[in-house]
Symmetry: C2
Subunit: 157 residues, 2 copies
DNA sequence: TTTAAAAATGGAAATCATTTTCATTAAGGA
DNA sequence: TCCTTAATGAAAATGATTTCCATTTTTAAA
């Protein structure tokens, strides 16, 4: 196994235990689904994906687990304005596949973009430093979203 | 009256009518509260402020009006993760008092910051252009929020 | 191992912000 | 002023998320 890669079966085991959380089937399954998902999943999306194979993992547990995962910083909770939260896997130590969002206010479609990210991230880091110092704020994350109309919605108008 | 300043009694009249909306007492009052508010108000905050003097403006109307105002781009709808939407007056033609947010994930306090904004905005404009072209997206707005722990919440830990 | 305390769970019920319904009222062009 | 239509309020509905609570599971200690 390549060095530095702590993925693979149960790489998050330590993270859980280290923070006093227990490792349970439900949590593993949810994390697994999230880490393999392409897009941004709602709690119910996750439930749907899990249910066929693990019918005894309830929606309540999914919400609770997503909360825990957010606290641990393993998952990022997003709001695209359609009334339900979405969750996105915060890339582990390996692949820092960072991206921001382009949200269509017409159809709620969300595009992840990874272009322009380098400049943005550099500026963000500077800004973070400045803000941290000035406001004594311990910044752990940021959210950048552009809102507008996608091609289709622009045409409909 | 200074040129270029279309504030003052009813400066939004034209905007409303121009878009086919009627000008009603409720809408004026809501807009008035928002434009004078310091922070970010929830629908209920607005209701509370309005109710004593205008007890016949219902919460439903507030929600409906906020929707309209969002569509018109006169108000920006925000989510700070506490389950209720906040609304912020999108500065009119006069005072472009642009700011971004610093959100404490511990106590949900929100700090508006206006420092670093210039550089950020410049970069954002470039990014917007690039994204607009690449994805054929008509960008109308952006949201930048930093998440972390404020001083107090850091200490509690 | 076995055991016991604590954490985690699921299902049902509760919550609560936001929407919808619908009968009534008000805005504004003719 | 009159008339069409948008806007409104109150109450009911909705729907995502939380809470409750009795039961099960995890894990550390014996």
């Amino acid at each position: 196994m390549p060095r530095g890669n702590c993925r693979g079966q149960g790489w998050w085991h330590g993270k859980f235990r280290g923070c006093g959380y227990r490792l349970t089937l439900g949590r593993e399954v949810i994390l697994d689904v999230l880490s393999k998902a392409e897009g941004h999943l709602s709690a119910e999306d996750i439930y749907m994906k899990i249910h066929p194979r693990y019918p005894n993992v309830g929606l309540t547990t999914i919400y609770r687990t997503l909360d825990v995962l957010s606290d641990l910083g393993m998952v990022f909770k997003l709001d695209f304005g359609d009334g339900r939260a979405r969750y996105e896997f915060a890339e582990g130590p390996k692949g820092a596949h960072h991206h921001h969002h382009l949200v269509c206010t017409g159809c709620n479609k969300v595009i992840d973009y990874t272009d322009f990210i380098d400049d943005e991230v550099e500026l963000l880091n500077q800004t973070e430093k400045g803000l941290s110092k000035k406001y004594n704020f311990k910044i752990t994350n940021h959210l950048i979203q552009f809102y507008g109309l996608c091609e289709k919605c622009s045409e409909k108008k």
